[in-house]
């Protein structure tokens, strides 16, 4: 296939790359999807809950898989917990409104899920006019982009070179190729990225369902604030079919400036009184980690396209952090779709120049991806107030402790409880007022 030119080469078989490849193959484009792992997804890590309808739109076959889905569980119960060292306070919401396809969110294990996505891309290829000429190539690491006359026109992997009219960079956050052509800064500042560290614990499925009160395919997601010793970030626990994913997401700049060690932080999270009993009867079956953009719009390159190339997903820093959860996978898939649609138009015009591929960025701006990112920047900066990761969770727990305390003494009125808790924290009423006003405005 060396001397065959592709319409488009997609670098990276994660959710963004698979989504782009699927849309391209469905529209009869001649493509090459390149993944360095053993299979699509084999090197990928998410929490992870994949939210919203985008995956169901790009991969409508998903709804025929419900007997044995490539995802784990649909999420119809969401918990947000505020942790102090010895207590936790949770908001818990469950609704049958989330019980129907397309689900509001599904938990996924990426090595399984992305593998299925890759298989779907192959099926779409098989149905296209290029059944013999389009490929999904695994265990191929792209080392370099081929650039001629300032235009990206292919890839090099070892001795092999492949040419194409354009390249979609779906290589994830460790975006060496995107950086090599200046679409992203060569050095991405630590303040824009976090490290996610994760364990998967497996259970007998009945035990898991009893422990987490699950019926059938339903599942629960739980995010935690206050479990990171003051470091920017939080914890997560998601139920899979017969396992749970739990871990921490920790801002790399804060980590650097602290004295904390990532696995010790994970251990202390797992030792917390509200987590430890959940692990009983389970077995740790996988340990993983991956960097993730923190959701700061300033990390996103001003220009997501150049002559012959566009950048999508984490490589472009497209992660939404609303404080309730991280949305990276759905944004990655949507950006992959918008890139594919722009390239289909470019092919019709036979124009893969910068000016033509700009339509990708225009489309993205009009989609929920950039709209949500713009609308939630206030929320992002609000929750990135350092007090949010320690002082406020401590304050909430200190109040709740007194609310529920029965100690043989005269009970305190709620007003006095709050006053005492605030006096004992190093937060002032001014901090609280400022925070509640900012919170009200931004969330």
């Amino acid at each position: 296939m060396e001397d065959e030119k592709f319409d488009c080469i997609i670098v990276g078989g994660g959710v963004a790359g698979c989504a782009a490849a699927k849309v391209l193959a469905d529209n009869n484009m001649k493509i090459l999807l390149v993944e360095k792992g053993e299979w699509t997804g084999s090197k990928n890590v998410s929490g992870g809950v994949l939210y919203g309808p985008t995956p169901w739109e790009i991969f409508p076959e998903l709804k025929n898989t419900l007997e044995n889905p490539p995802f784990e569980r649909f999420i119809n119960r969401r918990r947000l917990s505020f942790m102090s060292d010895d207590s936790s306070f949770s908001i818990d919401y469950k609704s049958q409104k989330y019980d129907n396809v397309p689900y509001n969110g599904v938990s996924v294990l990426r090595s399984k899920f992305d593998r299925w996505l890759g298989e779907q891309v192959e099926e779409s290829i098989a149905k296209s006019d290029f059944a013999e000429d389009s490929f999904v190539a695994t265990e191929v690491m792209v080392e370099e982009l081929i650039i001629k006359d300032g235009k990206v026109c292919g890839i090099r992997a070892g001795e092999d070179e492949f040419e194409s009219d354009c390249v979609i960079l779906a290589e994830g956050v460790n975006s060496l190729l995107t950086r090599s052509i200046g679409l992203q800064k060569e050095i991405v500042d630590a303040k824009y990225v976090a490290t996610g560290i994760k364990e998967v614990w497996q259970y007998d499925q009945d035990l898991l369902e009893a422990k987490f009160q699950l019926d059938g395919l339903e599942g629960v997601s739980n995010e935690f604030v206050g479990c990171t010793k003051g470091i920017e970030g939080g914890g997560f626990l998601y139920t899979n079919k017969d396992s749970i994913s739990l871990g921490l997401v920790l801002g790399i700049k804060d980590l650097r400036d602290s004295n904390e060690t990532v696995y010790d932080l994970l251990d202390s999270f797992k030792d917390h009184t509200s987590i430890k009993p959940l692990l009983k009867g389970g077995k740790m079956v996988e340990y993983s980690a991956h960097v993730v953009p923190v959701g700061d719009i300033d990390m996103i390159p001003k220009q997501l396209y150049t002559d012959g190339a566009v950048v999508v997903g984490d490589a472009a820093g497209l992660v939404l952090n609303t404080g309730k959860s991280i949305e990276g996978m759905n944004l990655a898939m949507e950006s992959g779709r918008q890139a594919a649609l722009a390239i289909i138009e470019a092919k019709k015009k036979r124009d893969f120049s910068k000016a033509s591929l700009k339509s990708y960025q225009d489309r993205l701006s009009e989609s929920y991806v950039m709209k949500d990112l713009r609308n939630f920047q206030g929320a992002f900066h609000f929750i990135h107030n350092p007090d949010m990761f320690k002082k406020y969770p401590d304050l909430v727990n200190s109040i709740m402790n007194d609310v529920f305390l029965v100690d043989g003494q005269e009970k305190k009125k709620t007003r006095d409880i709050i006053k005492k808790a605030v006096d004992e924290s190093d937060l002032s009423y001014w901090d609280l007022m400022k925070t509640s006003i900012q919170g009200g405005l931004s969330l």
């Binding site: 360095k36 084999s42 090197k43 460790n174 490290t195 364990e199 696995y263 996988e286 980690a289 960097v291």
Partner: protein
């Protein structure tokens, strides 16, 4: 509940390349770097101080990218393992 990093890593499958994909200029670690943060932030414990000197090994690396972003001293040269090598997660 606490498990050693080695034991945790033993749950993974890695096809080791003979060529290190990450190299570290340990002179920088041993001289100008004051925080040595990679010894704390690498989830696979690839950076360790042994006899007061930085010792880096790539064999346990799970390709997360943390050191690529955490080192602010320019000591880390970071690449992915060559085609067909490195970590494979069964679950991910």
């Amino acid at each position: 509940m606490s498990m050693s990093v080695k034991d945790r890593l033993a749950t993974n499958k890695t096809k080791l390349s003979k060529k290190p994909h990450i190299t570290v200029e340990t002179d920088i670690c041993d001289t100008t770097c004051t925080h040595k943060c990679t010894t704390r932030v690498c989830p696979a414990k690839c950076f360790e101080i042994v006899n007061d000197k930085m010792a880096f090994q790539y064999e346990d690396c799970i390709e997360c990218g943390t050191c690529l972003h955490a080192c602010d001293q320019g000591a880390v040269s970071w690449k992915f393992p060559e085609s067909g090598h490195g970590i494979t997660f069964r679950l991910g």
